[in-house]
Symmetry: C2
Subunit: 436 residues, 2 copies
């Protein structure tokens, strides 16, 4: 059967991985897809690199726009990244009737609605398995595997850099700054780590998963995002003593009033499987009303794991390109006319339980003052312990776990607590999830 | 759009779950599938039960053959089980141009090749997500999510009954018989638990996964199967002391000489995520050459988790039924003309490492005799410890972990060891896997 012709935009890490996996496994992939899938043209500004990676096996150009308008190209793989030129190229490819495969989470988080609308109108597919959790087929699982379910929530470790850092902080008891430098040295973190450590990359991925889980428009701009830069090793240690691990989770929940969409460090029970996902690995836990909790685990980044997802999309597109567009898997899992615009809840309205660490003077009545304030805000305490001052100190740490409450209640209570003269440091507040 | 009409055969646990989930989530499922999916007729010998479960919402019959020949039925769900009448009904449905969705692992393990051939000839789909690991979308992950990969091996906890029993044996230190009775009392094991505890159910599921992973014919009849009935609590304890857990794993590996296809209790490192899958939960670990190891976890049985998979298949069939058969996902993941007949390796040829427990007289020279025999068979020792005899006893336990060797070597060595006069009990041998 006639080969599918693919134009590849960007021959960096993932592009190189895609090229080499597609070549190495071409026989097996053809046996699955029913026809060869061939990269016939590669566009990259760095033609020398492109020549080195491809070994002259296909046409090269430094003009990506010539690829997205090339009548001989069936599918365009966009691996340029960012949301400037990538957006233009993807829209131009769609306009020219090309199917698109992309790993670009930032682009879809920012411009997904526009891109999916354009693809829908043109009757082409935009596939994006590689945009979330690398090689883990999580988009397929959510969009096709759990179609029977009313999905209730998703919680994911979807950024390998931060999970690596948190694992090292816990295992070695080291502060964030030290571990970040180590991660940079080992190549787990970039020179400018902002996107990863501030939770933005996780929020990009989360907002895509949230949309396909709930049949909602992509709502990245309304996500609440908090990274791990302010997290202290001492809280990781206290959490562990209480039977919890701290993970940077992307959490999205369907509530009666709207959708929660938030990324932040989170205490989760150590005995949960996802709490034991360590190092740079990713995992997504999805709860459906029929299936219960399911978990998907694997490598969330890297050349070949990401290439695995890119190529799975190529095979899917190859299989579906002749079917009528109405019967294809919809971009956002729900039919375009059934996608709704559920409100995203502000953090103040989120209901969860909390970990508090208070630094107080070690004298009588302190605990009574604090628990009185919590009671006044309808916050009840689930567990508590006090770390007595060391020899020569006169300040103690009080660690509390609360039952569920609205975030605005806990914040009001903390403001009152911080105003007490016996409270000598800023109270640390972390969110907790039971993930049941 | 016109509804898809579904005929349901068997309204037991999973049938009832399918009926109620499809009803409860019909709005959300329609928003995904693009058209309603309706169970229009139910066949069951027990008409009273059928009436109670369906509440008169659809036509009932006690003649399943009338459903598979009904011109108004688009899709038949087979939930009768077994491979007698179920095989006849599925083949008759295919003959009549119906698509089939089934949860029947025994049927597909025994007659999958015949059934898929018939479906292929007729241009209809036989979908079977529910046949393996209940609600976990593992068939979809293997067949569509990992298409870029040369899959190297799969290892799965794919029987909830035995995983529940092993978890209880480890946590409570109880023997198999006692825990089995408890599992039966709690409904985790059937009155006749043979299929589960002897590993046959796991082998059914494994042989289906093996076929779609490697593009091989379904080869259940050549699987090597060993259950957990002879497993002793003391070995679970020793394994734990050495940093391992014992799980009943279904393992299939692609080797240069053929395919390993085996179910048996297996020591795996406690720190692996899959070692921490407890109770009746299922998990499948799949290793691809590009993606690395990925894990899929969830409920492997029960009314609604299994219904989740059945309905996901209904949605898939609804989406794909208008597409040309050549472009659908092939039944066995590979195109029919690309499915091969790789040899299944006998256990004697399997290469793995081993846990040995020897009962010996506590006197000088014993260890020298044993290690000499192992060395003569080219088996090297990775770790060893000796449990000294208790007060008043004169026999000691020696526990050894070996490096990798062929099973026929270890068996020959054990025969020689058992012949030593200082060895007073039958040597226990368990297989180990590093799962890396």
């Amino acid at each position: 059967m006639k080969a599918m012709n693919v134009g590849l935009l960007g021959i960096g890490t993932v592009g190189g991985g895609t090229f080499s996996v597609l070549k190495r496994n071409s026989e097996e992939i053809t046996r699955r897809a029913g026809r060869p899938i061939e990269i016939t043209v590669v566009a990259d500004k760095n033609l020398e690199l492109a020549r080195k990676v491809t070994g002259g096996a296909c046409r090269l150009t430094d003009d990506a726009f010539s690829v997205v308008t090339d009548p001989d190209v069936d599918i365009v793989i966009e691996l340029i990244g960012g949301y400037g030129i990538a957006r233009e190229l993807v829209l131009k490819a769609i306009e020219n009737g090309k199917h698109v495969v992309t790993a670009n989470k930032a682009l879809l988080a920012k411009h997904g609605n526009e891109i999916f609308d354009a693809a829908q109108k043109k009757g082409v597919m935009v596939a994006f398995e590689a945009a979330v959790a690398g090689g883990i087929p999580i988009i397929k699982a959510l969009r096709e595997g759990l179609t029977a379910n009313r999905i209730e929530w998703i919680a994911g470790i979807i950024n390998g850099t931060t999970n690596f850092i948190l694992t090292e902080m816990r295992e070695k008891g080291l502060p964030f700054d030290v571990v970040l430098k180590e991660a940079q040295r080992l190549g787990y973190a970039e020179a400018d780590p902002t996107f990863d450590v501030e939770g933005i990359d996780a929020a990009h991925k989360l907002s895509i998963m949230s949309a396909i889980a709930f049949g909602n428009r992509v709502s990245f701009d309304q996500a609440s995002v908090e990274g791990i830069t302010k997290l202290e090793a001492v809280d990781i240690k206290y959490a562990e003593q209480l039977g919890y691990r701290i993970k940077l989770l992307g959490i999205t929940k369907r509530m009666p009033e709207g959708v929660e969409l938030r990324v932040h460090p989170t205490l989760i029970p150590s005995k949960r499987l996802i709490a034991n996902v360590e190092g740079a690995m990713n995992a997504v836990l999805a709860k459906g009303d029929a299936v219960g909790a399911t978990l998907y685990y694997g490598k969330g980044a890297g050349a070949e794991p990401t290439a695995s997802a890119v190529i799975a999309d190529l095979v899917d597109v190859t299989r579906m390109h002749t079917s009528d567009p109405e019967n294809r898997v919809p971009h956002l899992a729900f039919q375009p006319d059934a996608v709704v615009d559920l409100p995203i809840l502000p953090l103040a309205e989120v209901v969860t339980s909390y970990y508090l660490r208070l630094r107080v003077e070690d004298k009588p009545g302190v605990l009574a003052d604090i628990t009185r304030i919590l009671a006044d805000h309808q916050i009840s305490i689930d567990a508590m312990f006090q770390r007595e001052p060391a020899e020569g100190e006169d300040q103690a740490d009080i660690i509390m776990l609360t039952h569920q409450t609205k975030e605005k209640n806990i914040d009001a209570a903390i403001a009152s607590i911080n105003a007490l003269s016996v409270v000598t440091g800023k109270t640390i507040r972390l969110r907790m999830e039971s993930l049941l």
